[in-house]
Symmetry: C2
Subunit: 548 residues, 2 copies
Amino acid sequence: MHKLPFAAAALLLSPPALADGLVDNVTGLTLNEKGEVVRFTGLLVTPEGKVARLMKAGEKRPDKLDWRADMKGRVLMPGMIDAHGHVTELGFRSIELDLSDTRTLAEAQAKITAYARANPDKRWIIGGGWNQEFWGLGRFPTAAELDAAIVDRPVWLARADGHAAWGNTAALREAGITSRTASPAGGRIEKGPGGQPAGVFVDAARDLVQRVIPAPLAKDRDAAILKAQDTLLSYGVTATSDMGTSLDEWLSYRRLGDLRLLRVRILSYAMGVDTAVQIGGSGPTPWLYNDRLRMGGVKLYADGALGSRGAWLKRPYADAPGQTGAGFMTDDVIRNLMVRASMDGYQVAVHAIGDRANAQVLDAIDEIGDTFKGDRRWRIEHAQIIDPVDLPRFGQHGVIASMQPTHETSDRVMAEARLGPDRLAGAYAWNAMLRNGSKLAFGSDYPVEKPDPWAGWAAAFTRQDENGQPFGGWRPEERVTREQAWWAFTGGAAYAGFAEDKFGRLAPGQHADFIIVDRDPLLASPTDLRATKVQETWIDGRKVYERK
Amino acid sequence: MHKLPFAAAALLLSPPALADGLVDNVTGLTLNEKGEVVRFTGLLVTPEGKVARLMKAGEKRPDKLDWRADMKGRVLMPGMIDAHGHVTELGFRSIELDLSDTRTLAEAQAKITAYARANPDKRWIIGGGWNQEFWGLGRFPTAAELDAAIVDRPVWLARADGHAAWGNTAALREAGITSRTASPAGGRIEKGPGGQPAGVFVDAARDLVQRVIPAPLAKDRDAAILKAQDTLLSYGVTATSDMGTSLDEWLSYRRLGDLRLLRVRILSYAMGVDTAVQIGGSGPTPWLYNDRLRMGGVKLYADGALGSRGAWLKRPYADAPGQTGAGFMTDDVIRNLMVRASMDGYQVAVHAIGDRANAQVLDAIDEIGDTFKGDRRWRIEHAQIIDPVDLPRFGQHGVIASMQPTHETSDRVMAEARLGPDRLAGAYAWNAMLRNGSKLAFGSDYPVEKPDPWAGWAAAFTRQDENGQPFGGWRPEERVTREQAWWAFTGGAAYAGFAEDKFGRLAPGQHADFIIVDRDPLLASPTDLRATKVQETWIDGRKVYERK
């Protein structure tokens, strides 16, 4: 009787027909799906912001173009992807007191006092980034040492790894912590010589204090995410996993997306199965806001971190006899959660640092992998300390090793102390993952480390830190090639998030997410690569960042 | 240096240039902004689904059309808008046990037993819709009477007004209710002669049982909303307020919107200020999904309902000496909540049934109205029993009276009993609202009443029920005209939700939301108007419902 119009709900505007745009005169570099370098001199972009074509030198440019950007020979590459970060925490870290650049306890104390004076209206002084190893302290700091910096208001400061926190006496008092307060399961209250709480709380014990800290306001959370986004774009990061999105963080992403303020693409992993189901219902969300946001899976935690001895080891810590850390979940619980998530099609990403925790996750995948076949892409986050006997199991199950190269350079001295010399064969073992048939995705674990993919890339093929230490690289057999590392920070990270058809390289049909940098990262020395400056960042063929 | 492409994030597709479509050969009726009837024979629709133009008989139709629908002379009108409903509850009501058609207690008992047999896997039997007034019972039913229908599983049945619920002994046992359980503030446990709980729980007392009922799954909530949507479309309702959206309900709306399954436009009022802020952050959400969803304000409750004597009256109930009902909030609390909402730009809609509750809300608006100037559109939901001395205050403050005509026809006998003859002057006083300069928005309060705007429209200009009772209308001076009632169910309801520039009438620039009905509602007798059948419902110029 009648024909219905084409009326997709999202189609609000009927623009005049647009031609492609051209980013021209570039030293273009990308990897293809096989991990091979592809070079080009022009990037043709569709009106919708996707790659139409890579153009070679001398190839005739289209006559009809809607716009043209002349890059004057500069290097153009795909946007970098961080496979493991914490977006909101990164934002809050840059608003809150940041101790990550302090090199002594005294320096930290001075900075805390100054921050408190500069922020007289903050009822709690909140911050983080401290690392007693960097201070050469050889032990955790104490509440008394924090009281020396500030006594009149509660102070609560997260350790750099996010697995421990340090409070002053006012904070402990508000939380009602006394010498009779017991350490909860999965956590530990550090005790002083007389049994009194010493000031540092590890893993689950942190909740004893954190529950009394006023929650941030929704608008503060929005501001933190926008701040983090600015930081990521300045490093050339155009997409990132958010590893453990809370419901409130998800609501912030929606607000920003609704207002068209989301620029970085967020691959969200919900904090636990209940949160995933509350957000997604019976499955992952679709890609939203033109592929800027998707909640595709769940983040689970099998253990804590190595620095705070929360990582779960098969044998005791070398520097803490009798301690092996502790698993966060029983075998039954982790299986049940993985099954619940998998039944509804959620991807599962499990934090596992210690060799025992990694074995527990691999055991669970062993057991349920036959039931949940197909393209599951089980992810182990960090996969930091692996018993060599477990390495082949990564490949057998197609497990993605989501690892952070700068953790190796930051941790190696601490790791040698925690593990002793005979347990390092499977430590930060990037190359072993590839040799065993696993797929690598690289990230930074920001704000634990800086969200700097250039430092990660350089570390990955050198096993040396920013000072070139140690000479020849630490356990250099675990280096990967420069190209393998680049892939893990681009196409590999996209694959780990089921996004390889959307972004991660420059090829027809992919989003035109690219960066202009001030040097050729395939030719630069490791030191020069670390110093790479991102001059422009583009997402969907549109410039979203330019270095001032 | 270079020109950036036009690249709005939502612009995913570049369709070929489209021409308008035409719905032709209609008996077209709409109201204009002044509430005057406008007639037309053709509706020209833009490719984006908006009204391009109303066309008169004999006027030349455009040569180039993308599509044309011949309605063969049938009546075309703007879609109806329900200014006050509960979308998810409507959906669950149609999945759950529905007692709204039972006319005796025995009939209800038989239906409960049959439903329980038909649903052996349901651990709880959940339902509602009962009304002891319709049963001629003259008192609440008892747990023992429900045990007679089913004893082996807990049963929990909401009263038609949603302000009371009836449980059997198994339900009370699971909730741990005993004769020692005290009525909570804002609620009442009905007691038997020996002080034992009688089976019915009023207002806040319902939570004592409800907290032990397993929560619906996210996918069940999605299914309920889709079911409600189908029901609304079949009545010709193309937009509705959702009066008290929980966070989980909001997440369901987002899931359905993301999947392009939202058709009815939802004007969401968050359940309380905390929920509004959690969803919207520092203000209402934008219009989402091409104006299908917006959270623009908060729903607050000043009191309960008249039927269960939860409405807050200035003087005691005529049929319960000494009882005046109770306010849900102190004057301070209601002001604080209204201020918190208004500071962030949320619209405030307060449920107020009794004259005391209405006066409390008007007092609050009096006090804070000077601080929060501008276009606030304070809403009072129900505005059911008004002390005549308070009526002028609606107009003084530009308060919107969001009223439900079918409540009058359902309630009048009960209202006379509750209030006695001398307190009816301001009861369901629609015309008085207009006389006093208030703006009317009409709805049904579904699922308390059927989501049937045709019954509401007929009631509004007759003050008679579906049987034509009482002859001449109940307190007929409070009738409004047929056109005034129509406006309250269309443009007035849109205005009440800050949507008058988007929908509510047929005029250039408005969404092409319209219905095809089987009679002319401006000519039909009240009885015929009630029997109106909606043959087609269109939203954004696209047919979304057709009667089989």
